[in-house]
Amino acid sequence: MNKISGKQLYSVAMIGEIFAIFCLQGSIGLLTAAGYVAASLIVCAVVMPFAWAYRSGKELPEAVEFLLLLLIIAWGGSLFAMQWSASEMIYIPYENHGISGKLLISGLIALVCLYISSTGIKSLGRAAVIAAAIGAVCLAVVVISTLSKHDWQNMSHNGNELTFAGEFVRGLLISGNAAAFIVLLGMDKGSTILSTGIFFAVRAAVGAVVIVTTVLAVGDIMPAVELPAVMAARLAQPFAAQRIDSLFMIVFAVYAVFSIAVQSAAAVCLLGKLFPKIRRFRSLTVLTLMLSSALIINNVR
């Protein structure tokens, strides 16, 4: 039986959450952090009944599983679309070759995701712990260099046009990872209720720290910035003679791959339950559906 530990569950899920914040578009402020924390509480409340159900050994109804599958595919597509938008600001060779360049990049990511999800949820969990640890170190470098260099008055310089309600909705909109979390929760070795509580507490705290750091680093130029988190990484240079932007780029690429692989692994698991006759090419089917939904989302935008 494929079971993962609590630490692996948090890592797998947190990577997706952090990647969504990296791809956050438009101005952000302290209200964004507040909205994100509030949204985390609401999503936690939504996930808790599932945690109770798993704890009491109940299976999810097929209709719910089908709905979760649709949500995961849609969120996977959104992650592809977010990655397309963000990669315009991060230098990736061939990305600026129009739609063919974007499809090439997405195709490569999909290929790696296909391989990762084919190795199974256990290995994905183990790999996610290492990826999350590397990402945490890189983020810590960005946070520390930002805190040591930037003016605290930046906090008040932006975000005048933001409202709590608007930021709360934005927080909810970037919580699509919750569907995959619900599926993975069923594979948790430990207490599902405790895992849910800890995960959403960590999600709220880490998300708030990343958003506040971004606000602090970007400061006055926030209205002119498309992707604040990416810009914050560019501005946070801890060394005088050496740039470290690309450290962020590596984290971005790794998190993009893992966040999509997690969606893919969760969707494959549901697909196997709902349609047991589909035995082969499950991962390929799921990733094709995600890429198709990404194209739709991109066109709708």
């Binding site: 692996q8 490569l108 790696v112 391989y115 990762i116 190795t119 199974g120 183990r126 790999a127």
Partner: protein, 506 residues
């Protein structure tokens, strides 16, 4: 009686096949008959009249006998002094059974005296260096352990050097290897199980484990894996390892090998299982963890602070050896903004005259190195030295002077290659990964390197044999395992821990 008088007559294979049915392996279960001549004839027929099978006929105690052995596998002096001299002096006996009883009970000819009842056992003993005594009227054979084949002596291991530990390595003789282990672990808990594998080679294989430390279930799983071996011959550890590794495609091998008895003993005490193969001076260790590639016996001989320094140096060397050429190509080709102005100008200056792209240049240098290395390994040692001189001085110097290769790139490649030599057991995967990362970095920059790193990471994390994850204790994380992974704790603390590999079982 001397060996020179031995009957070495060779029969033509055709004649033998006409007389005897030699199709298939049916002869193995064939029982010995009571006729001495019939048995000798059958042995000659089965061996195809092979010239190294010696049949010495003589009469002792009034009964016709024959001593059969394999030339070169027995010690001539031992067989003369300890077998022929006592046996030929036996007084008249009632019958062959009484003769065999007398030899078994009254004479102490050798310590190892197995009996054989069928042709399969007879040939197994002959091929293992035993002398076989058969007599008229007896349907069993007596074996005497008089092995005397020439073997390589115990020497210093060639690939696993160390400074502070023992300087002896395994040899090709399985019994010597077993004694080397037994000398270090003088405990009845150490079990050595012999078995034979290879339908033609009948290679001796020894399964070693500490019965009080080995995880429950691991032995059953390993035995089941070994049962799947249906090969005709086992000539190296590489014939067995694929049967012990559960996944089809593993970049890093989840079974280890060592040529050091002291290292093997430490693994056995940690609850691992070792497999010795006759004719191979390496032992297979199951299960193997990724972090073990960076541990050496010297780590435990030095002070912990120095051992930690060396260990981190090895981690760094491993990463450098895999990624350095790829990072150089990616940064110079796609991300020059990462370089500070001085370094940037230096690289521009040296690369502007190079006729090839950086990726092609790197691939060329790395391929050149691999060709030189392979030539150095395969050629006789004196010529190997000449190859190194030609490659290092002539080709390297000429390539730089002609501008075909830039000096910084050559430096990066040399550093990467040197880094790989720090962890010799990982050299094959490092070599292939270095090329793969270079191509990824050269085509897609840091993005390509990141993508490939994700795939490699997933592959490493998926590597698992018998429920032991290859990446343990890092992931799944075991805090107790960090005392000998990220650091090397004090020996007193490690003693308190009493580690066995079962801690990492999932």
């Amino acid at each position: 009686m001397s060996m020179r008088n031995a009957d070495k007559s060779i029969h033509s294979a055709n004649t033998i096949n006409e007389v005897m049915n030699l199709n298939g392996n049916n002869w193995q279960a064939e029982k010995l008959s009571t006729s001495l001549s019939g048995n000798i004839k059958r042995i000659r027929a089965i061996s195809g009249g092979s010239s190294d099978i010696l049949v010495n006929r003589f009469v002792t105690g009034g009964i016709s006998c024959a001593l059969i052995c394999c030339d070169g596998m027995v010690s001539t002096s031992v067989i003369t002094e300890l077998i022929f001299e006592p046996i030929t002096g036996i007084e008249q006996q009632k019958n062959a059974s009484a003769l065999f009883h007398y030899i078994q009970e009254q004479l102490l000819l050798s310590t190892d005296r197995p009996e054989a009842e069928d042709m399969g056992s007879v040939f197994r003993l002959i091929d293992s260096g035993f002398a076989i005594l058969i007599a008229e009227g007896m349907d069993t054979a007596l074996g005497f352990g008089v092995q005397g084949y020439s073997t390589r002596g115990v020497q210093e291991p060639s690939g696993e050097g160390n400074i502070m530990g023992a300087h002896e390595g395994f040899t090709e003789t399985i019994r010597t290897c077993m004694s080397q282990i037994r000398r270090r672990i003088k405990s009845p808990e150490l079990v050595m199980e012999m078995m034979q594998k290879g339908s033609k080679s009948n290679t001796d294989i020894c399964l070693c484990y500490m019965k009080d430390r080995v995880p429950s279930g691991l032995m059953t799983d390993i035995r089941r894996s070994l049962e799947r071996i249906k090969l005709e011959s086992i000539l190296s550890t590489g014939y067995i390892r694929p049967f012990l590794e559960e996944r089809r495609f593993e970049v890093f091998s989840s079974t280890g090998v060592t040529e050091r008895p002291d290292v093997l003993c430490s693994k056995l005490i940690e609850g691992r299982v070792a497999i010795l193969v006759d004719g191979v001076p390496f032992a297979i260790v199951v299960p193997k963890l990724f972090c073990e590639n960076f541990q050496t016996l010297d780590d435990y001989a030095y002070k912990p602070y120095y051992a930690v320094f060396i260990r981190w140096l090895k981690y760094g060397a491993f990463i450098m050896s895999v990624l350095l050429p790829a990072l150089y190509a990616a940064i110079v080709m796609y991300h020059p903004e990462l370089l500070n102005s001085t370094l940037f100008m230096l690289l521009v200056d040296s690369e502007k005259n190079a006729p090839l792209s950086i990726m092609t240049e790197s691939l060329f240098v790395l391929l050149m190195y691999e060709v030189v290395r392979e030539a150095g390994v395969r050629l006789p040692k004196p010529v190997g030295g000449a190859v190194s001189i030609i490659s290092g001085l002539i080709i390297g110097d000429a390539a730089v002077k002609s501008g075909l290769v830039s000096t910084p790139l050559l430096t990066m490649t040399a550093l990467a290659v040197l880094g790989g030599l720090v962890v010799p057991e990982l050299n094959p995967p490092i070599t292939v990964l270095r090329f793969a990362f270079l191509i990824a970095g050269g085509l897609m920059g840091l993005f390509g390197i990141s993508l490939l790193a994700c795939a490699v990471l997933a592959n490493i994390c998926a590597t698992e044999d018998y429920g032991f994850p290859y990446t343990a204790p890092l992931s799944p994380f075991r805090r107790s395992g960090m005392s000998d992974t990220l650091i090397r704790a004090d020996m007193k603390k490690m003693q308190e821990r009493g580690f066995t590999v079962e801690e990492y079982h999932e």
